[in-house]
Each structure stands twice: as structure tokens, then as C-alpha cells.
């Protein structure tokens, strides 16, 4: 396997231009919602609304202003699949359509997907949905096809301000930590990295520099594998299975005894 690759997104230099969204759509030939004839969301400049099967990049716009406008921020952030090291989607996929690539990224193979939607509910970040064009579950592939050809993903290449950076996770983490230190030193004490730590699902191969709590960006503060919640339930299942088999064994034994001449 090649070295793990991914995205580091520095939200403090994102200008919300959505070039990443358009570059993604153009490269991956994703359709537009209702042929491009949609309505205004009314939620700041966000008319994409959410990540789904035809929007693999989504720029979020968070307006934070006090009533007197003495304090004000407009947080901008380009969201995408996190390519988790422990990926829930991959784990729950019944057909094996979701794979981990040689770049340590997570890719849904459309031709093996049966559209069962298990991955959609399993993803703690809500990045997956059905693409109506194919009828299968889709999300960011981290431009697997481009990576195989030695190119970088379309979105990071299109990003004019290097808010989205692509590279080896090792290098990106190093760069990101330096940027956090720089921001802290310049007085932005709220700067931190989200998902760069292994504690979060083994590490997100698409991690973020944020300047507010994750919830502000509509990100889960503590994303979990779906299997963890199932632990207790699974013990019940195991117990049940043991009981059933014991019962069966007893039954068979009895039957056997009866059948004995």
C-alpha cells in the first residue's frame, strides 16, 4: 500500500467560492438538482444544503454576529467525506462494494453496490446518499481515478487559496499543526484540528482546522462506529444463539434417544 493520502482543510483561508464543488461535479460528471432549476435556501449563501449522492463537496456558511455587530464572523468550510481509518460504511456494506484503496481512502464501487442504503445510515457524518442517476450509494472517491494517474483530486487542484490541501497524511498533519501554532501565536486561541487524532475513528484522512466547536460546523463532536452501540445488543444475540443451540442439542439428543430402538 502507498502511504495514506488525504485532505487537510484549513477553514481560516476558505473564501466560500465553491470552486471545489464545481470542479468535483465537472470531473465526476455529477448531475445538478432538478437540472439546476432550484430555489433559494435562505440559509446564508448555502444553496447546496448537504452532502448527498450528487453533491460530494459542500461549502458550509455559518453566520455568527452579535446584535450590535461588534463581533462578527462568517465561518466558511468545504465539507467532504472524511475517509475514516475506521470506516463505518465499509464495515456495514453487505456486498463488499465499499473498499479501502491503496491510498487508505474509502471508495464505493458503483457496480457492486445494490443500493441497500446501509452505509447511508451508518455514516456518522451523513456524507453518503443515493445518486438518482445510477441508483447506487455515492460519495467522494477522493478522485481515486485521478490518484491512480498520479494527479491530485479535482477539488484541491481548483481551490484558489489552498484551503483544501492534498498530500500524504503525515505531511499534512505536520503542516496543519504548524498552522495551528501560528494562529494560536497570533491570538486565534480557538484554532484546533478536527479528526487529525487517531482517537477519532482511527483518524480522519480528511481532517480540518476549525476555529469553533464541531457542532457549529454541523460536525459530530464525537463520531462513533455504529457497531459500538450494538455491543450490548450483540451479547444478547450471542446469548440467544447459545440458548437456541443448547435447546436444539437437547432436543436432538432426546429425539435420538427416542429413536433408539
Amino acid at each position: 500500500m502507498a502511504e495514506p493520502m488525504g485532505f487537510y482543510t484549513d477553514t481560516t483561508v476558505c473564501i466560500g467560492c465553491k470552486a471545489c464543488e464545481v470542479a468535483c461535479k465537472e470531473w465526476n460528471q455529477l448531475p445538478s438538482r432538478n437540472g439546476g432549476q432550484t430555489t433559494l435556501s435562505g440559509n446564508s449563501y448555502d444553496n447546496t444544503r448537504a452532502l448527498d449522492g450528487i453533491h460530494w463537496r459542500h461549502v458550509k456558511f455559518v453566520e455568527q454576529f452579535t446584535d450590535d455587530r461588534k463581533d462578527g464572523r462568517w465561518l466558511l468550510m468545504s465539507d467532504v467525506c472524511k475517509h475514516c481509518v475506521q470506516a463505518a460504511c465499509l464495515e456495514v456494506c453487505p456486498t463488499g462494494a465499499i473498499i479501502r484503496t491503496e491510498f487508505d481512502t474509502v471508495v464505493i464501487q458503483s457496480d457492486a453496490c445494490n443500493g441497500c442504503r446501509d452505509c447511508i445510515s451508518a455514516c456518522p457524518f451523513g456524507v453518503i446518499d443515493i445518486n438518482p442517476a445510477s441508483g447506487t450509494a455515492q460519495k467522494c472517491t477522493l478522485c481515486y481515478d485521478r490518484l491512480q494517474a498520479g494527479m491530485q483530486p479535482a477539488c484541491s487542484q481548483a481551490c484558489p487559496t489552498e484551503s483544501i490541501q492534498f498530500g500524504t497524511i503525515r505531511e499534512l498533519k505536520d503542516r496543519a499543526q504548524k498552522r495551528v501554532a501560528q494562529l494560536q501565536q497570533m491570538g486565534e486561541k480557538r484554532a484546533y484540528l478536527y479528526g487529525a487524532d487517531e482517537k477519532m475513528l482511527g483518524g480522519l484522512n480528511s481532517f480540518y482546522l476549525l476555529v469553533d466547536r464541531p457542532e457549529v460546523y454541523n460536525l459530530p463532536p464525537d463520531p462513533q462506529m455504529p457497531t459500538r452501540n450494538l455491543k450490548l445488543g450483540s451479547w444478547f444475540s450471542v446469548l440467544g444463539a447459545v440458548l437456541v443451540s443448547l435447546f436444539g442439542v437437547i432436543n436432538f439428543r432426546n429425539r435420538g434417544a427416542e429413536e433408539r430402538p
Binding site: D10, T12, V13, C14, I15, G16, C17, K18, A19, E21, V22, K25, E26, P31, S32, R33, N34, G35, G36, Q37, T38, T39, L40, G42, S44, Y45, N47, T48, E63, F65, D67, R69, G72, R73, W74, L75, L76, P160, T161, E162, R179, Q182, M186
Partner: protein
Amino acid sequence: MRDSDCIVVMGSNMAENHPVAFRWPMKAKVEHGAKIIHIDPRFTRTSAVADIYAPLRAGSDIAFLGGIINYVINNERWQTDPFFKTWLVNYTNAATIINEDFKDTEDLNGVFSGLVEYKGGVPEWPFNAFIGQYDGATWQYARTKIGDQGRTASTAQSGEAGKMPTGQANQPGGPAAPKSGAQPSGNETSKPPFTALVQALVKPAPEKDMTLQNPHCVFQILKRHFSRYTPEMVEQNTGCPKETFLKVAETILANSGADRTVSFAYAVAWTQHTHGVQIIGCAALLQLLLGNVGRPGAGIMALRGHASIQGSTDVPTLYHSIHGYMAAPTALKKHDTLGDYLTAETLPTGYWANMPKFMVSYLKSVYGDKATPENQFGYDWHPKILGDHSHMAMFAAMNAGKVKGMILVGQNPATSLNARLERAAMRKLEWLVVKDNWLTESANYWKGAPEVKSGEVKPADIKTEVFYLPATQVAEIDGTFTNTQRMLQFHHKAAEAPGDCKSDTWFSYELGKRLKKLYANSTLPRDECWKNVTWEYEHENPEERKKGEPSWIKINKEMNGFFTDDPARHCVGFAELKDDGSTTCASWIYSGMFPAPDKYLPDRRTPDPPGQPGAQLQWGWAWPANRRIMYNRASADLEGKPWSERKKWVWWDAEAKKWVGYDVPDYIATKPPNDKAKPGAAGMDALPGTAPFIMRADGLGWLFAPSGMVDGPLPTHYEPVESPVKNQLYQQQSSPVVKIWKDPANPLAAPMDPKFPYALTTYRLTEHYLSGAMSRWNPWLTELQPELFVEISPELAQEKGIKNLDWVKISSPRAQIKAKALVTKRMRPYKIGDKVVHQVGMPWHWGYEGLSTGDVVNELTALVGDPNVSMHEGKAFVCNVEKA
């Protein structure tokens, strides 16, 4: 901008409208912690990444900038730091003495001396629209008049001979200047060489007081002029809190000096005012005071509104200038002969003294072998302008039935200024050609416009014959872009155009060929131009030739210049150009981009090695002469040494006896810094080795503009023509010399009209382009911004009972339109004096054609203009807002 320590974005939403260029401010921020300041009526995507956001009411920019100027002048560090003093006294005209009769706006309550009634223009063209005019004689330097010639004046069309104070043509006494009635042929002054003509224009050097104490010196005048621009006044006029304003002023000054530099970036939010040129001039004044010109990370970046619009003004598509910013010959001035033209337009001192060489080479490029010294190189055949032929004047003329036909290439006037008026004007055309990618609003105005849909106008009553020609897109042609930093970059064709789509060059070339044929047998004198013009651009590639596409190589060669007797020998730069017809060059500023048939420099793509200081000289090619920073002599001190190691750029190498550095020095390479000005000399010899601004007649940066501006020598705070508030600084409400096109369809709101109480500004979004003609047909873009909206503050929304996403009616004296409300705290009410002024904002991308449609915001705008450049005031006018 990557080298800047502080970047001030004002009059621009750079991140949103120039996202690719905005990578440099972001690099400066990340790489060395540069401070970004955004000053704007709205909190935009640029404000989102700025270190300081300063709100200000639309139209109050000069009050804000003037406040910084006053702050700087009264600051102790500025007064004592030797860097600022040396710069001010030696590189600007601070020490120059102005005519004693000059009266400032402080003396005359908001107007300068010399205000007179406008009586210019010719009866054939009553569309110049001035409401007043200045005789700027009293604005001049005391001992000697200094001209900027027609380069700026002819834009305004107040440059008529006998009235214009700046032109040398009005001054008697130039021995070579023909008085009057000179016949075109046989006029000896129209024959080369023109050295004597230029020499005869030389005046004595202006008088100076290097101690800056004389009450009539520029510095004392501007000190008095801005003395009332205090932080309190700034707060009262702009609505920006005093503390925020002071933080901005402190940050700008703290990042200026020998070791640090500040750059400004502006775009159409400075230009689209009736005093837009003065706003830019005000920023230039401030940057000159701070020594932030001609140095790395300094300057004022004019962010252009479209890709390659820099190229379109260079080449140019402007009506008032010909190639390379030479004035267009005009019927309004004494431009009868080539000699008259050169006498009126040549600056005898500084680098512009070479203009006769540029002009003659230009005429050679137009008329080729037909241009000879005997026929003034065909000067008589060259068209002359009659007045203001810019956008608004042309549509005023069209609405008056004076325009027969129109060719639209890359314009969409059906959604442009006072759009109902412009569409009414278009209905009066006999014919209209629309060459575009889609059937835009302008192509379908006869069937799709609101007044047609409402039944007010019937298509059957429109007599205009409309032709539609499908156009190629940029990736379907070979060609160059000239970007905002004057850099040409070549791009290769990426795909063949579909179907019948043709390039703009194809269209122009074919049209020219047909017109030449049409006029071939004409005996009318006016058709001599077509009969004599050279028009040979056949493509080298037989396949392209078959398609009729002209050769970009031949076009570029003509622009670059070559030797007439040996056309294979290209000019290596404009220094080779001659005034005797031995060289041919369409655009002197582009000379050098194509120095040999096998060397085409805009196609270069070699970056500097990483981590090494440099000017990226091997990447593309920038005019003039591949210089990346203009006037870069100013990056060195009086002795030619860099001001500091950190801000090193070009310097004098005493051993090699020449200017060297990272960039191409913008100077005579061997003119030493201790060179003295030669009294009475013409050209560069008239300037000392310390004068960096070589295109100015005195080699200095102008804090005070004795000529060239028609609305005053210093920037002054005026309200927009339509404003919700009274001018709090002067009795004069708005500029007394603005342009107003009087037409019943162009009514204006009086100042503080209660029917239109809110300030409205129009703008663009990242997701769309201009009138939407390139974006509203693309579903990937329309889903990102699907509908027209009006941005209002929660305060105004509450006052008016409007909720987010409600339909809202927006009205101005011209029209009423509808849009959805986007209620956001990014908009805020402004406290102006004791009045609360609500600021409203609307993007103007929509129209009635395409995938995403919406009302035309420009139906609200007015035909009013800046007197210097005829730019409209779409950034600051008034409206009312009601729930629909």
C-alpha cells in the same frame, strides 16, 4: 500582494469576485502573517477572511480615506521617520508651488476655483451630459503649466480647444505650434523628425519649496484640505465606528516605511460612482504619502472586472484612446493635422516625449505602405471622435434615434443600466447583431422582455432586424489574456467549437474584408480609411485559413512592431521605434513581447526557483518591457540603494554603472541617481536621476493633480447623485460637474427623498458572471445561486415586516422589481449623524432568459456618470423596499 505586510481591500469584494487572484493575499497571510483589512458596506466573503472588517456606508469612501490621510499627516512617526520625509519631498510633488489664485473646497464650500457653465461639445453630438465644467487654470503649477494632455481629458470630452486648461495647444508661444488654419498637406510640422516640435513644447521647471513651508505648496494645500477629516467626522459620515477606523489607520501606517509595505486592492466598487476616479486618486495620494508605490508589496491593484479587460483597454476597445493610452484624435480639439495632434498631446518632458515615435509607428501599422511622411502617415484618414461615445452616451443617443445599428459582442445591454431605457433604445435600431454563446436577454429582448410579456410593447411594432451569430468560448481559440498586472499569457485551443460558432477575431476579420470590398470603389473622402487600411491576416495553417480564422501570429506581430524595410525583423522593444516611418508598431506598450519570429514571450511558463527572490520574469510577459512593478526606481533611495534589505527590488550598481535588480528597472538603465535635470532639455534629460515617475512630465508622484482630472485637483467627499443623506462636510451635495443624461425615462431622486430612503448597492457573486450570460445557462452554477435576492438587515426586515425568503418589491425612480429577501446580520443599519440609514444590497446577475431567471436589477440604476470617465453610479443610489 504576496510581498505585502498589510493588504487593504476597499471598493472590492476580492475574495468573491477575484478568487484566483485572492490566492496571493491568502499566501501573504499564511506565509508571513500579513494583515488583511476589508472596508465595505457589506460583510462579504472577503470580510470573512479579513483581520479587520470596517463597515462604511456606500458612497462615503473619500471621507474614510481622507480621514486616514489626515491621521497620517498628524502622526508623529510619519512626521519624524526620515523615510517618509525623503519620499515626500523628492518623489512626490509635495514641494511644488501652485498658482496663488487656486481656491480649495474649504474656501468655496465644496467647489474648487474655476467652476463654469458647460458650453462644450458640438451640435451633432449633444450627449456629453455635463451639468457643469471647471476651467482648471488656477489649479496649475505656479511658474509653468504642466499638461497631462488628452490622455485623461479626452475621456471626459471637455478637452475642447480654447477651454481645456491642460493642453499645451491652448498656450501661445510654442514656436513649432501652428496657430490655426494650417492645411493638412504641406504642413511642415507634420513631417518627421518631430524632435524640434517636442523641444519647442518644453517649459521652465516648476517652482518648489523643499522645506514644504510655502502656503501655496502642494503639501500645505492638502494639509488644509483634509484638516476637517477627523475620526469623528469619519464616523459621522461613513457610519464606521471611530475605534474601528482608528484601528485601520494605525495598522496601515504601522505597516508602511522603509521595511514594510501596504498594498490596496480595488475594483468596480470604487469606479462605479460619480466621483470614482477621485476615490482612486485619494488612495493613490495616501499611498504616495506612505511611500507605498513602485516597491514590492506596495501599490494599488486595479482588479479588473473581466478576464483580459486589461488587454481590451491596452489594445484598446475604448473610444477615447488609441493603442497604448494615446489620445484618440478628436474633432473637439486642435487635432487638424498630425503636427497639431502631436503638439496638443505630447508631453515634452519625461518618457512621453517619445510619443511622436509611437504615434507614427501606430499610423504605419494601420495604413502600411500607404502611410508616408508626405501624407502625414495617413493621419487624415483616421477617424475622429465627436464627443462622449461611451456606453451611456451611446444609449442616450440611441434612445434619441441617432443610432442606426449595433453590433453586440460580449455585452448584454438589455440587462444593463436603466435597462428599460436601454431596451427602449434598442427598439429604435434598424438592425442589431448579437454575437454570443446563448440567446441572451439582448438577443431576445423583442420577445422576452418584461414590457413585451406584459403586452405594453408588441413584437410586431419593433422594426429592428436582429441577427444572432453563435460565438466560440475561450477554450475553443488560441489567444492571449492580459491580466490585471499587465501580464500577457498565451492559451492554446483546448477543443474545437461546436457547429457554426465563430471566434470574435474571425468575425472582425471577415467584417473588415467585406467592408474593404464595399468601399473599394468609393470616391468619398471619408472612405479613404477603408481603402487604405492594411487588412492582411491570412492564417499560416491551411485548415484554419479555410475556416477564415485570421492568424494570431500576424496580429501579434503587428502589435509588437517590425522594421518596415525588413518585415522579418521584429522590434525588440519600444526603444527601437522611430518617428520617420521606418518602424511599424500598433501598440508601443506591447512592443517587445514578440522580439523575433521564433520568440513569442507570452507563451513562457518558467517560474522562479522556489525560495529565491525574484519577479517571475520568465513567466509570460508584462508590459512595459516585461517590468512587473511599474515606477520601480522608487524601490531605491535617492542614491539608488534599496530602502531596506527586506524590500529590495531594483538598485543602482555603481560599478557596472547601471540599474539592476530582481525586476526590469523602470528607468533609463544607465541614468545615474545623481544625474541632474538639464534645464530646457526635453525627454528624460529634463528629469533628475531621483525622479521615479517617468511618465509624468515632472517625474513625480502627484499628490495634487494640476491637470488631467476634470472634477478637481484633490479628492473631496461628495455624496452620490442620489443619496439618503445630506453632505455633512460641504454645502455642495455632490460633484458639480457630474454627467446626467436628461431623459424622461431617466428620472432621479432628489437628495434625501423620503420616497426612496435606503442606500442601494449592486454587486456580483462568485457563482455567477456579470449579467449571467456565461453562468445562468450552466446548471452546475445555477443550483449554487438559483434565484435573485435582496440582502437586508434584520433591523430593516423587522421595520418592514419582511421575513427571510419573503418576496419583496424594490423600487427606484426608474422602476420596480421583485426579489426574495435574504435577511442577514451581515447587513447593518448605519448611523449617519443623527439619522439611521439602511443599506440594501442586490446582485445584478439575473434576467429573463436562461436556466435561472429573475428580475433585471439594472432597471433600477440611473444614467449618471463620473465626469472623467463616464462611469455609472451602480454602487450607490437609493431605493425603497416593501413586502410584496
